[in-house]
Amino acid sequence: MTDVDAQSGEADTPAEIAPETLFNTLLTRSHEQLVLHPTRENYAALLATLHAAGYHSVIDLCGVDYLTNDSRELPASIEAERFEVVVNLINHRERARLRLRIQIPESDPVLASAFTLYPGTEAMERETFDMFGISFDGHPDLTRILMPEDWIGHPLRKDYDVGRIPVQFKGAPANR
């Protein structure tokens, strides 16, 4: 292992790129971790760029509902929306990680699916759909994955009350 490799990969930035943007996308740092803020429209193109640049794995994809949290910091030109999809990518060769935060409006919770480039996002996108109701355009099988298939509502949304809804199960004599 060389000295370059021995550094923690999360803090590494390729030297030739200006600090504000990376891959033509707004860049911020959160606890020394690199965070990119693509717009919804640029998301698919950015993924293609990242895939070509050696980010061969989407390690994680999850949603966040910022309904009751107005304390987050975003770059000035990014308009805060209710939902956020957070994607963690890894570049094994450079031992680098990147995080994408994509703003998803409540009125139209749709994002392009990363399935074609990264088939490993299949289950994660389904989970995000299941928990937050964010649809992924181009996903081959956007169904519920953890909740029962006839469940109503998306449990990780902040306006989904915990414990106030009778437990719903197939065949259970509960009023739905």
Binding site: D60, M131, R144
Partner: protein, 444 residues
């Protein structure tokens, strides 16, 4: 559900009734590349073959395996499309153990958090606690004392040994080597005995907490470690004699469930499955956390990406973990086992009787919890099953605003359809076993 509840717009746009495997005649052969509803990703050449040799619908059969099947490691349900004994397609259906732990995590303080997350991967609970604690510490921007770091390393490596021993046992059981099951559990019990001596519990320890660990190592812990380190090499040699050199065992595993490194990366698969393909990747070495850059160990890789490699890698990783444990034994520093930051760590019991401030701090930490500055962070570690990550969003209160765990088993399960394609039903059991999913972590 109240009558005023309106369905979100996107619910009506998608089918929520189609979690199950659709029959083959609905799925056109050309779509095999992207297999609607089955998530089976075959290579382009395989897709062409499938198109040429499309099996008449009346020759195939969709059967259901699980969720109550002893070889599915809990409540994994598989829908298999079979032609005779050959698996054509497979779809894992999960969610039977879903208990909403990510939502529960939002209701618990950072102090209570490990109690919740430890129940995710119940075969390796200390790892989830570690991932959670490291993320909280990153958000708090605190450094835990040296001794806490080394205790964490010692304990997680011990846990890795016990988790891999459990794999040895269940893998043997799934393949009919029932004596292996008894041996694996016998040794695992010894490893758990050590964990119990230190944490008080065999499983679900709640031992690694933000700021350090819950308690210092007890007197005589070195004897407990040494007892295990002395006992295991002989027992592992017995496994080697019993299994590695046994023709039936090799026949059952070699060349079964083959996956390539490219497929692993595309599917996000990590851990022993990725290493079995020859891809040299271990977060402990490549993106070191704790003090793994100060210990000497080897990353074991396979070459064929089959079930036997995955088995052999886990067996070899027990040896590597023992190496690390031995170094922890030698290098264990003296000092505090948790950070002496009064805002994060409760004061010692003895101080409560004599100090009003200590009592107040104790009360505040255990009722209200400590506050974590706004921000978000993702920290990942190498669990026995692959990359285990924790993503936390904090809004400045004493509870996580969002706590997401990137569970390796959840992602690794996606490789099942690929691994099983074209194999026999009997091999399907071997393949599930070699992926080593923990359903508590899959469903969370």
């Amino acid at each position: 559900m109240t009558a005023t509840h309106e369905l979100p717009a996107n619910v009506n746009q998608t089918s929520e009734g189609g979690q199950e495997l659709t029959s083959a005649d609905v799925v056109a052969a050309a779509e095999r590349l992207r297999e609607l509803g089955a998530v089976l990703r075959v290579s382009e050449s395989d897709a062409l073959v499938a198109e040429r040799e499309q099996v008449p619908d009346d020759e195939t059969m969709i059967i259901n395996m699980g969720p109550q099947h002893p070889s599915t490691h809990g409540v994994l349900r598989l829908m298999l499309e079979l032609q005779g004994e050959t698996v054509l397609r497979c779809k894992p259906i999960i969610g039977y153990l879903h208990t909403g732990m990510e939502r529960t995590g939002e209701e618990l303080t950072y102090m209570q958090g490990p109690t919740n997350v430890t129940r995710m991967d119940y075969a390796a609970p200390l790892f989830t606690e570690l991932a959670f604690s490291l993320t909280v510490e990153k958000l708090l921007d605190i450094e835990v004392p040296e001794r806490a770091i080394w205790i964490r390393m010692l304990m997680t490596e011990m846990n890795r040994i016990s988790s891999h021993l459990l794999f040895m046992a269940t893998n043997g059981m799934d393949l009919g080597a029932v004596s292996m099951m008894l041996y694996g559990w016998r040794e695992r019990e010894e490893a758990l005995r050590f964990l119990q001596e230190v944490t008080g519990l065999r499983m679900n320890h709640n031992y690694i907490r933000p700021g350090g660990v819950a308690a210092d190592l007890p007197d005589g812990w070195r004897d407990g470690v040494l007892r295990l380190l002395d006992m295991l090499p002989g027992r592992l040699a017995e496994y080697d004699t019993l299994l590695n050199q046994q023709p039936i065992w090799r026949e059952r595993l070699q060349g079964v469930g083959v996956i390539s490194a490219e497929e692993c990366l595309a599917l996000g698969v990590t851990g022993p499955i990725l290493r079995s393909t020859g891809y040299d990747w271990d977060l402990r070495r490549d993106m070191p956390y704790l003090a793994f850059d100060q210990v000497d160990f080897d990353v074991v890789v396979g070459s064929y990406g089959d079930c036997f490699d995955r088995y052999a890698i886990r067996l070899a990783e027990i040896h590597e973990s023992m190496k690390i444990v031995r170094q922890c034994l030698e290098k264990m520093p003296k000092g505090d086992y948790r950070i002496q930051d009064k805002k994060v760590t409760p004061p010692p019991r003895a101080r409560i009787d004599e100090s009003m401030e200590a009592l107040i701090h104790h009360f505040k930490i255990f009722t209200e919890g400590f506050k974590v500055p706004e921000g978000e962070a993702y920290v990942s570690i190498e669990s026995p099953r692959g990359e285990l990550g924790c993503y936390i969003v904090s809004d400045g209160s004493s509870k996580p605003y969002r706590m997401h765990v990137r569970a390796p088993s959840f992602v690794n399960l996606q490789s099942l359809p690929h691994l099983m394609h074209g194999s026999l039903v009997a091999d399907a059991v071997a393949i599930i076993s070699s992926v080593d999913p923990i359903l508590g972590e899959v469903d969370r």
